[in-house]
Symmetry: C2
Subunit: 123 residues, 2 copies
DNA sequence: GCCAGATACGGGCATATGCCCGCAATGAGC
DNA sequence: GCTCATTGCGGGCATATGCCCGTATCTGGC
């Protein structure tokens, strides 16, 4: 599973590289878009990551001017949103992501993809 | 896949924690045992990892006195072998690993496990 | 035997990931 | 209103991962 995950990530990363992001960042940007403005804790819950990991990942996106964070009503919360550039990059990267998705589906079969999705539910 | 991989790794890591190693290190130790003495490049090939990553992972095991490296016939090569302690820890950790393996198989089904193994071949 | 290209490593740079600890803001109970 | 447990973050520590570049060693063709 670890091997496969690395290979799969490498495939997506190669396809997304021209857009300056990797698969982890792509997934993160999509989640931000859906929920913005959203807190770090909420994003961490959505992607099932440690909160501190999420904080650092967001910082990288911020450095690239893809997201911005401000304080929420709750002064503790960091409210994360896409910047205009973030939205542009996300839109531009989507075809590359879909292309990889299709290529991988063709290679391993839609039924196996479905099983991978089930797997995550079971754990 | 990335989510599932993290969850799965966490399960194994928890089971292996009492032995002071994680799932990546466990897999690495097993491969070293099978091929020792073995070069970094060969190990990297076996586990499909970047060679520099392998070098660093080995260094961690070395720091814990689980493996030792010496120069091979080819003076460039690092010949990696298990230390006695490495062997002991590997043997001690195996039941924990098998326990996780069984628990996970029970949870997600042997057929899905088999599909995961096929997946790696296809990529 | 000598040199050029190939091969094995190590180190630097960047990201990803988790755990723990401490700080600040919130909110519930009195 | 005030105290204290809860919640949201950031920073420190450690590992994992990949890419690129430089150095050392080897090897094949001459």
């Amino acid at each position: 599973m670890r091997k496969t995950n690395r290979k799969l990530a490498a495939l997506y990363d190669a396809a997304l590289a021209p857009h300056g992001i990797n698969i982890a960042q792509f997934a993160l940007l999509r989640n931000i878009e859906r929920r913005q403005p959203v807190s770090l804790t909420e994003l961490a819950r959505l992607l099932e990551l440690d909160r501190s990991t999420m904080g650092r990942n967001i910082r990288v996106l911020q450095k690239q001017d893809l997201v911005l964070t401000s304080r929420g009503t709750d002064q503790r919360e960091a409210a994360v949103s896409l910047t205009e550039r973030g939205m542009t990059v996300l839109r531009a990267a989507e075809p590359a992501w879909e292309g990889s998705q299709d290529a991988i589906t063709a290679r391993i079969g839609a039924d196996r993809i479905r099983i991978l999705q089930e797997l995550n539910q079971l754990l």
